[in-house]
């Protein structure tokens, strides 16, 4: 049973069967009422403020205009889907007709290339951020474990981490761009260069929190458990697998969550600069576009970025809860 879901359903259920009505109402007010009040207040302030801000692109978008733009982005995506389906239909018909005339004809299939819709951009952003994050984690976790286990390795690596950790990943972007274009030379590129640029920038900023927190997690292995491992003559690998890893998982996941949060923030900026398809590029293009709808569309993007970031963090939290052995610790 998922405790998260249960916590949401329980008060309603109890309300229906008439158990402790007053308590359930209080609980619901806290759980749903107060957040709703906060949201409502925010919308009111937003609406009120936006009517007083006039820009060269028209009035600052309020909740209503933002919602309208969200609908229009949805429509555009639907239309694009129809166009794509129609394109493939035409292509199929054409190929079928040619085959009828000439049985030896080899049908050619061309891929549809239309402008990416808003939802394509969200998907691209997610692919980029997850690629960078997963690659970074694969590098950072082993490094964290090694420097957590050896005080000497820690002393050697720590100054580097401390110096590189505060660097804004965007400072890396020009260097990453130059290195990628110099090193990644192939006639048939599997990945877009702009994608690699943003991905590596994300990767660079994901490394540090994971390394530091994994190392700190490894340091929580007590001398008692190390003694057990020694008395049992566990090999280095078994020691890491059976004792160090489970012990450091809670801290490791704290690092991973911080990393993913930073990665998502950095990605938007990296996409703007690297012109990699994604939400960042969408925002930038709308800004350059400068139509009367642009600000509303950017506002939609801002909200979507927030929601996606929230969902990513929740996902990591659920994963962390699933792999943590210590269920008594409340993870939030």
């Amino acid at each position: 049973m998922n405790p998260l879901k249960w916590a949401l359903v329980e008060p309603f259920y109890k309300l229906i069967i008439g158990e402790d009505r007053k308590g359930q109402l209080n609980l619901l007010t806290k759980m749903l009422g107060l957040p709703l009040v906060g949201l409502l207040l925010f919308l009111l302030i937003w609406q009120g403020a936006s009517t007083h801000i006039n820009t060269s692109l028209g009035q600052f978008p309020g909740p209503v205009q933002t919602y309208e733009q969200f609908i229009s982005l949805n429509q555009e995506a639907d239309e694009a889907a129809l166009k794509e389906a129609a394109f493939y239909q035409r292509q199929e018909d054409r190929n079928a007709a040619r085959m009828e005339q000439d049985p030896n004809y080899e049908p050619r299939v061309r891929e549809y290339v239309g402008p990416p819709t808003f939802f394509d951009q969200i998907y691209r952003s997610l692919v980029t951020v997850m690629s960078g994050f997963i690659l970074a984690s694969i590098i950072a976790v082993p490094i964290g474990i090694v420097i957590g286990l050896s005080a000497n390795a820690y002393a050697a690596v720590n100054p580097l981490i401390q110096i590189f950790k505060p660097v804004s990943p965007l400072a890396w972007l020009p260097l990453v761009t130059m290195v990628v274009s110099a090193v990644y030379v192939t006639d048939d590129p599997m990945f877009d260069k702009a994608f690699l640029n943003s991905m590596f920038t994300v990767l660079l900023c994901c490394l540090w929190p994971t390394i530091i927190n994994t190392a700190a997690g490894v340091a929580t292995v007590t001398q008692d458990l190390k003694n057990v491992s020694q008395v049992l003559n566990l090999s280095w690998w078994t020691h890491v697998r059976k004792i160090v890893l489970p012990c450091s998982i809670p801290m490791m996941f704290t690092g991973l969550r911080i990393s993913l949060g930073i990665a998502w923030m950095v990605l938007i900026a990296a996409e703007m600069l690297a012109q990699n398809p994604g939400l960042g590029k969408f925002v930038w293009d709308e800004f350059q576009n400068g139509s009367s709808n642009s600000l509303g569309r950017i506002m939609v993007a801002v909200l979507v970025i927030g929601v996606v970031g929230f969902v990513l963090d929740r996902g990591m939290l659920l994963l962390q809860r699933a792999v943590s052995w210590d269920k008594s610790v409340a993870l939030r």
């Binding site: 008692d224 458990l225 003694n227 020694q230 008395v231 049992l232 003559n233 078994t238 012990c247």
Partner: protein, 264 residues
């Protein structure tokens, strides 16, 4: 007299501190026979645990050495199983899995999976933990955790079992239960045991010999008391036994007259 099983010869150890080396032990000599139950008793800070850790191989002696069956001890190993004071179970594994970790390691090549399973369950049964073997340490009481710790040590089939104040953190009743369990196990298996304790009754009840240590620094063995009471022993019957009470007062006299702890 049978052959010496474990032998400590002129064992001494120094720990480096910022103020210069600290000498914890000096000239510790002890011979233990197979199947003997030895208690180490002394005031806290006298280096009882240090002796045990040297026998376990967790510390290296600065001078002197330890021989187990005429072979030098220079590293930890499962043939010298340790029962730790605070159980030291892996909190993310069940009782069964904790014992399994040890069994997998010691009987890697010599037991089949079915034999291993049987052996793990057998050892958990010995300590009366078969009813809760799939519970994790945070789901069982302190006494039960220590039972699992003992099962883990027994499952390694050690040549010598080292117990570091195994019942020190438990309440008096639980401690008595565990002492009874330990005596019951000893009756069947007749393991060689070195146990650290600060409980005089526990020492007299369980031991064949009580090794009393002087206060540190540079602690060493003060006296050795042979407890000549027949096994199995019954705590109730012994309570009024004059021999038992004689041994008890011998230990008390050593601890509180000859080695009175001076509080700094």
């Amino acid at each position: 007299m049978s052959e010496t099983h474990l032998e400590l010869t002129k064992v001494g150890i120094e720990f480096p501190t910022p103020k210069g080396p600290f000498r914890a032990l000096q000239d510790v000599n002890l011979k233990i026979e197979e199947g003997e139950f030895i208690s180490l008793i002394g005031h806290s800070g006298c280096g009882k645990s240090t002796v045990l850790n040297i026998v376990a191989g967790l510390y290296g002696a600065t001078e002197g050495g330890v021989l187990l069956d005429s072979r030098e001890v220079d590293a930890p190993g499962p043939e010298r199983a340790v029962v730790f004071q605070n159980h030291s179970l892996l909190p993310w594994l069940t009782a069964y899995e904790n014992v399994e970790l040890a069994v997998d390691q010691v009987f890697k090549k010599t037991k089949s999976p079915a034999e291993k399973k049987q052996w793990i369950e057998h050892n958990l049964k010995l300590v009366h933990m078969d009813h809760a073997m799939h519970k994790r340490p945070d789901e069982i009481s302190g006494g039960m955790k220590q039972r699992v710790g003992i099962a883990r040590a027994l499952a390694m089939q050690p040549k010598i079992m080292l117990m570091d104040e195994p019942f020190g953190a438990l309440d008096a009743l639980t401690r008595a239960h565990l002492q009874d369990s330990l005596m019951e196990i000893q009756k069947d298996l007749n393991n060689t045991v070195i146990m650290i304790t600060h409980d005089v009754d526990e020492a007299v009840l369980l031991s064949d010999r009580i090794v009393m240590m002087t206060n540190g620094p540079a602690a060493t063995i003060g006296e050795i008391l042979k407890v000549d009471l027949p096994h199995p022993r019954d705590r109730l019957a012994l309570a009024d036994d004059p021999t038992y009470n004689h041994y008890r007062s011998e230990v008390l006299r050593f601890l509180y007259e000859k080695q009175r702890k001076v509080e700094h």
